[in-house]
Each structure stands twice: as C-alpha cells, then as structure tokens.
C-alpha cells in the first residue's frame, strides 16, 4: 500500500444499511455515512462524481507485476493521469495527454514515472491488461482551517473482460489470438481510498481509524488490480516464455513430450496476434523461440512421439521458422542500430540515418509476407492439426499406448537422461575440434549444438534437482553468450554488407552512409574477434570437472 494511502472495501449491502437518504448506486449513499463518522473533527467538502475509465497496464509478460509495480491510466473528461504504485509503497502520479494503448515506454510523459517504468519494461510495449469503467467520487477532508488534509475516493467500477476460445493460455492481455471472444462486465467491490495530503499523515491515520470503525467497511486486503483480476478470474503473471511443464519421471515419454510441445504451441499462438499488430518486437522473438524449441524437440526426441508425427510436422515447422527469419533479422538490426551508431568513431551517428530508413522500409515489406503467412490456411492447418495430434497422444487410452514403439513408452526420465547425455557429448565433441584457425561455420555448428542441449535442459527441467539444473544451465548460458557474440558479429557483418549492396541498388546509400556502414562492419568484426579469443576459456569452464559432474548427475537416472 502506498505511503500515506489507506484503502478499504465497502460492503455493497452498506449502501442500504448505513445511510439515511439513499439514492443512486453504492458510492453516492456512502457520503453522508462517512461525513457523519468524521464530524465534528473534520468536514467533508462536496464534489461531483466523475465518470472515469481506468486501464491497468503491463507488458505481455507481466514485467511490471513481477517487479512489484502497478501502473494505471485513469482518464476522465478532459483529463488523464498515470499512476504508478511501487513496491516500496510510494505512488508516482503524472498528468498526461490522452493516450492510446498499447504504447512503448518512450511514449510516457518524461519524469520520475517514466524513469521508474522504462528500465523494467525495456523494449516491451505497455498493454491494457484490464480496464474498468465507473464512477469516481473524490471528496476533500478539511480540518478546522478548511485546509484539505486528506482525500477520500470512492470507486464504483465495472470491469470488462473477454472470454472465449483460442489460445487456452489464460494469458490474454487484450491482444492475444482469441477467435471467439465475448465481453462480459463484472461489477467490482466498491473501494474507498483515503489519501493523505503530504505532511498530514497523522490526520489521515485518524480519518482511517474513524472510517474503519464503521460497520460495512473493512480494510482492503488486496490492491485494486489484484481485486479486479480476481473478480474476472484472471491469474496475474500467467504468461511466461519458460516451458515449465510439470513432469513425473515415470510418465511415458510420448505423452510427456506431447505435453511439452502443447505448451510450446500455446506459447507460439499467444504471440501471433502481437506479431500481426506489431505491438512490440518481443512477440516475434517469443514466437520464434517457441518454433525453434519445437523444431529441436522434433529433431532430438521426435522418435518418442508415436507414429510418424515428427516426420509429418518437421517440414511445416521449418517453413514457419523460415517465415519469421527475415523480419526478426531486421528487428535485430533496428534494435541495435542506436547503440552501435553511438559507438562510431570516424562516422557520425546521423550518417546511419539512411540505413535506418532503409531498414524500416525493408521491414514493412518483410512483415507483409510474415502476416500473410500467419493468416494463411497453411498456418491455421498446422496449428489445428498439431494440437489435435498432440492432444491425442496426451489423452491416449492405455490400449492405444501399448501399440506405441518402445521410445514412446519408456519413462520420460530415461528419455531425458539419454537425450541430454547425447546432446552434451555432441556439443563437447564439436567444440573440442575448434581451433583459432577454424572457420566461422564450425563455431556456428557449436552454437547450434549448444542450443540443442539448452532446449533439452529446459524441456525436462522439472525432472531435475533445481540447484544442479541451475548450475548446468548457468555454465551453458555463458558458453552460449560467448558463441552468440562471435556469431552475431559475423552474421551482422555479412548482413551489413548485403544491406549496403541492396541500398546501392535502391539508390538509397549516400557515400557517408556507406562509409559509416563500413566502420560498423569493422566494429562488429573486431567485437567478434575479441569474443573468439575468450572461447577457449569459456569452453574450459564448461568442461570443468564440476560441470561435467553436474551433467552426470542430471543424466544419472537412465543408468
């Protein structure tokens, strides 16, 4: 609860029991009752009720909520404000022009609120996670000098929420791929807030005490957002890009893997609408991760699925992966351009402006193909058939499972151990062959092996001892980061060259821009070389006795 703020919920029956002259809905009846309780020490100044619309904002992956922050956009006729409640209990309010959501953090008004929100949300857009419409009555509580010492606000709201079929993730925050959505209105409990004017906390405490003694009023146990989410049965923080499927070691491998793949399908679908609407670049990133994980699962453990499922669906997921690549590459260039431009030594950052303009233009073209693909019958069939096939495996009756191959029937713990061990061996073997003279492609292969091991560790994480699992992932991640820096440097250098050629062809590349792009390519190359020098050390750390022991423990069950 913010400093100087006390919140109460008003029992709805209070409206008919507490006040003498009761007309109108909930809040209006509360005032005489409250004023009577505060008299004679305080007076309550009359005010008019205002129709307000309240929008709770967060990123798709609930970054603010996870960071203990609550952001509200409150609009009423001719006035709008943003209110941020921090974990430490302070409230930061910023008046603003009328705003449209979703929006990136740089659209927030400059000031302390934006400074607090921007680092948490990063490149993710702020979306309306829930909205309510209702009446807000604010009344000033005056002391004997007729000075306002606190404000009483009574909120009566109706929250709008969608119910329907589609993603099945329960993570929709206004944008996900719901195909059959109907809006329902749920009345929220009337909420009374006592906000102390700065320097008058003592009086606000007294006001809070007087009010809490009234029957029908009890201190609020949850934040307004939590109350609203609970009212519509929404679970906060329900979208995450983590796999997190709970597996029991003895579960047959087929249904267990199908469960993981269903989760990846949900994750992919949850991001489609955000990609199409171009809300932020992380939707495409998360969609690609879900597709890449699916492809890896099919490649590394697809034989644990019954029948020819892996063979049938592998080409379709390859198509989907390829569909998303050009747009993502352009996103990466655009996201990194400002940072790299700031690092230019000879050229000026504004020399790269034509590159930025070209990237934006190419992105528009590539996104058209991407959206066409995501709206195509092929994509719809893929998701429908894939879900049908996976659901069939998860819910298969015993009679059917007996006909499955041994790989599908074995305990998932055995499958996990065997595949992780094999992926680890392949990674170590490939990486051991790398020398300072090895071509870039060899390091690319090592990176791919690293990703395969990482995905397997993620799929089967819940089978592992958490501390050992965390240690193994940490070491692998450091090796992957090093490989990423090497490969990204090379890939982006080549991409810059290709872009330069394309821009020359399009007559969109002034000489200064080409020179700046040359410097950029050289910098990327230099960064990749530095990262490459660190590879041997990173790999030695990864193959240390301690980490090897971790992998042995994670794969012990199959022995």
């Amino acid at each position: 609860m913010p400093r100087g703020v006390r919140e109460f919920t008003l029992d709805r029956s209070f409206a008919t029991t507490g006040a003498r002259a009761i007309e109108g809905p909930g809040a209006s009846a509360a005032w005489p009752y409250l004023a009577g309780a505060l008299h004679p020490r305080f007076q309550v100044a009359a005010d008019r009720p205002l129709a307000v619309r309240r929008v709770w904002l967060d990123t798709f992956d609930w970054r603010l909520y996870r960071a203990g922050l609550g952001l509200e956009y409150i609009s009423r006729r001719g006035f709008a404000e943003l209110s941020l409640v921090t974990r430490e209990g302070t409230r930061i309010v910023s008046t603003t022009r009328a705003m449209i959501w979703p929006g990136l953090s740089d659209t927030l008004p400059r000031g302390p609120l934006r400074e607090r929100v921007a680092p948490v949300v990063g490149i993710r857009a702020l979306l309306p996670i829930l909205s309510s419409a209702g009446t807000m009555w604010t009344q000033c509580v005056l002391d004997s000098e007729k000075k306002t010492v606190a404000r009483l606000t009574v909120d009566d709201g109706v929250v709008q929420s969608g119910t329907g079929t589609g993603t099945g993730t329960g993570t929709d925050i206004g944008t996900t791929a719901r195909t059959d959505t109907t809006m329902t209105a749920t009345a929220l409990p009337t909420r009374l807030t006592v906000t102390a004017v700065r320097g008058y906390d003592g009086q606000a405490d007294r006001i809070g005490r007087l009010i809490s003694e009234l029957p029908g009023i009890s201190p609020a146990s949850r934040s307004a957002l939590d109350t609203a989410l609970a009212a519509v049965g929404r679970k906060p923080g329900s979208y995450t890009s983590k796999v997190g499927v709970q597996l029991a070691p003895a579960t047959p491998a087929g249904p267990a893997l199908a469960g993981v793949l269903l989760r990846l399908l949900e994750m992919a679908e949850a991001n489609v609408e955000g990609v199409i609407r171009d809300i932020d670049t992380e939707f495409l990133h998360d969609l690609r991760i879900a597709v890449r994980r699916t492809r890896s699962a099919l490649k590394l453990a697809g034989d644990a699925l019954p029948g020819d499922m892996a063979v049938r669906f592998t080409p379709e997921f390859r198509w989907l992966g390829q569909l998303t690549t050009p747009s993502r590459d352009l996103d990466v260039h655009l996201l990194g351009l400002q940072r790299t431009a700031a690092g230019l030594i000879t050229a000026a950052p504004e020399d790269l402006q034509p590159l930025h303009a070209s990237l934006v233009r190419y992105r528009v073209t590539e996104r058209r193909s991407l959206i066409r693909g995501l709206r195509s019958a092929r994509f719809a069939c893929l998701t429908r058939d894939w879900r049908g096939a996976l659901s069939g495996v998860v819910t298969a009756p015993d009679k059917a499972t007996r006909r499955w191959a041994e790989h599908a029937r074995q305990p998932v713990a055995n499958l996990a151990a065997a595949r992780i061990r094999r992926a680890h061996q392949r990674l170590v073997k490939t990486a051991s062959r790398v020398t300072p003279a090895s071509p870039d492609d060899d390091l690319h292969t090592v990176r791919k092996r690293g990703k395969e091991l990482r995905y397997l560790l993620e799929f089967f994480a819940t089978l592992h001892e958490p501390a050992i699992h965390r240690g193994a992932v940490r070491e692998l991640k450091q090796l992957q980061d090093c490989l990423g820096e090497i490969q990204d440097g090379h890939v982006q250098r080549e991409a810059i060259r290709a872009l330069a050629a394309r821009m020359v062809e399009d007559r969109a590349a002034p000489a200064a821009t080409l020179l700046a792009m040359g410097e950029l390519a050289a910098q990327l190359d230099a960064a990749a070389s530095v990262a490459r020098e660190g590879f041997a050390k990173r790999f030695a750390q990864f193959t240390s006795a301690r980490n090897t022991q971790r992998i042995a423990l994670l794969t012990k069950v199959a022995a």
């Binding site: 008046t95 000098e145 004017v197 320097g199 008058y200």
Partner: protein, 254 residues
C-alpha cells in the same frame, strides 16, 4: 530543478502574491513545485491555510537535525507543496552565520529536493540579510517586483550591481512591474517605455487590483477563485515570460 526567488528589499510590493500565483501556475502545468515561505510573517503559508510551524524551527532545518522534506506540506492543489514559514525564521541569520560557508546553506539544503521537484519558489522576506544572500546563491532567477516609480530603476540597478559582485553563482534577474495603477500617468509612462529599454524587465505587468488583495480573504491563489480575471491573465503572461526565458537560456543582468 529550477529555483526562482521573489525578492525585493522593500516590503509590500507584491512578492508573496507573485510567489503564490506563479507557483500555482507552474504546478498547474504539471511541474512538481515547491514554495518555501522564508518570510516569518508567513503570508504565503496563511494563503494556503497551512499552520506556520516547522517542527524544530529554523534550527532543525539549518542544522539538519530533522529531515528537511518532513517539514513539507501538501497544498490543496496537485503538484504544489509548501515549506511553511515559522516564526523562528526571524533568527535564521544567526544560525546561518554560525555555519561553515554561511552564504551557501540554503543552496545546500535545497539540493536534494531536485529528486522530487521541478520548480522551487522562494518567497523572501523584505531585507538585505544573510538569508537574502543565501537566496542569491541558491536561485537561478530572481523575480523582482517593482512599483513603477522614478526610483525603481535605481533600486534595480543596485540589485544588479550587487548580484554582479557575487564571486561564484550569479542568478539571472527578471523584474516586473507590480501594483501598476493605470490612472497614474507616471505609472503608464514607465510601464510603456522601460521594458523596451531594458532586457531585465518583463513586458507583463501586474495591475493594482483589489481582487489580488482578495487572495488573503479567499485564502487561495488568484487563478483558483478568479480564473478569468484580468489579474490572472497578467500573472499567466508573466509566468509564460519567466518560463519562456528559462527555456531559451535566460538572461543575465540587463
């Protein structure tokens, strides 16, 4: 954080009215604004219906024995807070004199407020004292109300000369005509001609109106109870001129 101080050696020239109305107008634009009523007469504090009392008095503020921001009170208006006056401010000179770097103490006290406020107004007592010297060191701009008389330029020149003699920080100066009586030819002539001759006098002028005196009766800033009045329009114009000068880099003396 931008610090403005309404200052004049003379009393009764409209310093407090200007500080209260300008601070209110700044806060209405969305700037987090603090008004520090440094005058032990506590007129600004009274106008905001706040008790003229600071726990521990000026000693606690200057010595830092109580958190400075704990003394701040919220006004009835969004984004506008007040550091109230206290009768012990009359002895603030003595406390400042006993401190190390006695002319820099207010600037030191105000420094941490930059986290919370965009704009600070200092409503100064009418005197030449160590408090006013502290104000000169702390303020970015001195807002000087002057009554359009023959001697007003002399007063302004004296102040400009004094500020120019300061070694380190020199605030910019912006004077404005206050309590202008249009019935008097002298007032009309001075208000018409002087701003064209000097860059340190605002073109906006505040008329002598009983409505402004009503602030003490209504105990509120003028734009609150008389938003469409001529006097409110004049303060609005003055604020636009002051904040506009800040945006364009401000002016140094004359």
């Amino acid at each position: 954080m931008r610090i403005y101080a309404t200052y004049n050696i003379k009393g009764g020239v409209g310093k407090t009215s200007a500080a209260v109305n300008l601070a209110y107008l700044a806060s209405r634009e969305g700037w987090k604004t603090l008004l520090w009523d440094l005058d032990p007469q506590a007129a600004a504090t009274y106008l905001f219906r706040i008790r003229p009392r600071v726990k521990g008095g000026s000693k606690a503020l200057v010595h830092g024995t109580r958190p400075f921001d704990a003394a701040i009170k919220g006004t009835d208006f969004a984004n506008l807070d007040l550091l109230p006056a206290d009768f012990t401010y009359r002895r603030m000179d003595l406390l400042l004199d006993a401190a190390r770097k006695p002319t820099r103490q207010l600037a030191r006290l105000l420094e941490p407020l930059a986290r919370d406020y965009d704009v600070v107004f200092l409503d100064c007592p009418p005197s030449v004292s160590l408090v006013s010297e502290n104000v000169l060191h702390a303020a970015d701009t001195l807002i000087v109300p002057i009554i359009p008389t023959t001697l007003c330029t002399r007063t302004l020149d004296q102040l400009t000369g004094f500020v120019g003699s300061l070694e380190a920080h020199q605030p910019s100066i912006l004077a404005f005509f206050s309590m202008v009586d249009r019935r008097k030819r002298l007032h009309r002539d001075i208000v018409e001609h002087l701003p064209a001759e000097r860059t340190d006098i605002a073109t906006a002028a505040i008329p002598a109106m009983s409505l402004i005196e009503q602030m003490a009766v209504r105990r509120a800033p003028l734009p609150v109870f008389s938003p469409r009045s001529e006097a409110t329009r004049c303060y609005q114009k003055l604020w636009e001129e002051i904040s506009g000068r800040h945006r364009s880099g401000g002016n140094r003396q004359g």
